[in-house]
């Protein structure tokens, strides 16, 4: 049996509301909130980045796994906001958690599915017997151009998963990856903000890809939507995952626990992975979980997990995801502070 042995997430404390962004750009806040099914999003402090959030998520995963970090044979951080263009985020994360030096490391990128890729590869190496434990992390401090639709949702967060064969809490039963060349959303080198194809990012990109992956996964596993206790899809806004889930035959009840976007925003490489951690926080032994990520460009990684008896022993060993999302320590920012935190103000020398 191969599967998740430890998991953890990290969500920063700052938030900004849709109204606060809309007021600056003269947009109609209620229609954005309805259209995107999104109320507010997380904002990283200036001292937080993909690496710092990954470290904290990874430490929670290690607490739940109960292993010596030196046993981790691979650390993969997937993000579209790696702090360095050359120098893997994974080296710093691995050093901080104590997994070095006998550890494989590479950074992953594939728009919003870079996190699930890291999970996919870590899991595969464990299954092949190359390593005992592998960690896949999805983390981002994503950027949306000022005034653009993406600015309402681009947020920050991280989720980390340790895969292994011993003390599994959620068995990885089936995986499938589905990928085409679909230029719906991209960022050229040296550009600060990404570009996207507007409505082209919907049906021909997000929906086609997730449907393609999900259907293949269901066929491969010979399962149907009603077999699952939970489902989580990539959540760039609140609406898309609910729509695609229902298209596939899943219900709101199955999707609610992992549906964090309305108050978290789109954490890009963290999106479906963080949703998965929220599900694992309350899952019961025997529950089956259906997860399909999506990364523009475009591709989806699908996973079917079955929760084991051991889940109860680890859930409370680290902070729960929704506890961070709904924390009393949340701080709401005004747009000026938000732009300063996100480095959107042109400083002297730039």
């Amino acid at each position: 049996m191969v599967g998740i042995v430890g998991y953890g997430a990290y969500i920063p404390r700052n938030r900004i509301k849709v109204e606060e962004i809309a007021k600056v750009w003269g947009a109609d806040a209620p229609s954005y909130k309805r259209g995107l099914m999104l109320r507010e999003k997380s904002v990283p402090s200036p001292d937080q980045d993909t690496i710092t959030m990954s470290v904290e998520a990874a430490k929670s995963a290690i607490k739940r796994a109960g292993i010596d970090p030196r046993e981790i044979g691979a650390v993969y951080v997937g993000s579209e906001s790696h702090p360095y263009a050359v120098k893997p985020s994974g080296t710093i994360v691995a050093e901080a958690i104590g997994a070095t030096p006998d550890c494989h490391c590479a950074d992953f990128e594939f728009a919003c599915k870079a996190g699930s890729e890291g999970m996919f590869v870590a899991m595969g190496l464990v299954k092949a017997g190359e390593i005992d434990y592998g960690m896949g992390i999805g983390a981002d401090t994503s950027q949306g151009a000022p005034g653009d639709a993406l600015e309402y949702s681009a947020s920050a967060g991280a989720a980390a998963f340790i895969f292994g064969k011993k003390n599994v809490v959620a068995e990885s039963q089936f995986t499938h990856s589905w990928m085409t060349d679909t230029p719906d959303f991209w960022r050229r080198e040296h550009q600060f903000y990404p570009s996207h194809g507007g409505r082209f990012t919907g049906e021909p990109a997000y929906f086609r890809t997730i449907n393609g992956c999900a259907k293949a996964l269901l066929e491969k596993s010979k399962m149907k939507p009603s077999d699952f206790a939970f489902a989580v899809f990539h959540q760039p806004n609140g609406k898309f995952p609910m729509t695609v889930g229902k298209q596939l035959g899943f219900t709101e009840e199955q999707m609610n626990q992992g549906w964090l976007c309305p108050t978290l925003g789109n954490t890009y490489s963290g999106a479906s992975p963080i949703g998965l951690t929220a599900i694992l926080d309350i899952a019961k032994p025997g529950d089956k979980i259906f997860m399909v990520s999506y990364g523009s460009g475009a591709g989806s990684d699908g996973f079917i997990f079955e929760v084991t008896d051991r889940i109860k022993e680890v859930q409370n060993k680290a902070v729960h995801t929704r506890a961070m999302l709904d924390s009393d320590n949340r701080r709401y920012l005004d747009y000026g502070t938000y732009t300063k935190f996100r480095g959107k103000i042109k400083l002297r020398g730039e």
Binding site: R13, S45, P46, D47, Q48, D49, I51, T52, V55, E56, P83, Y84, I92, E95, A96, G98, N329, R331, K340, L347, G349, E350
Partner: protein, 129 residues
Amino acid sequence: MSAPKYWREIPQRYRFEAARCKKCSKVLFPPRLICPACKSREFEKTRINEKGTVETFTIIRIAPTGFTDEAPYPVGIVDVGDGVRVLCQIADCDPENLKIGMKVRLEFRKIQQEGHAGVINYGYKCVPE
């Protein structure tokens, strides 16, 4: 920040590695060559605790170069037990909630970055528990 100067302190800044004197059990952070308490030169590896209490603090309003964009920010001295205190910034805490005696834990954060081309400096800050 010179690369070797940064790299040398990584075990302390990332993993809180310390030394415990084999003779008198004093915990030294950072580790040293000689125990100031009993003059022994033998140590075993240990780590400082990641939770503690704030013993004193201030709010830096006029900041040094490299930190000016973050001012004002709180800095405190935290008692982490085992006779060790560390100085660090206090993050995720509104100024009116700062109190001597508040419980905190150490968290991995970015400390500084040298413009757009330098090495990014990571380390620890404390956050309210």
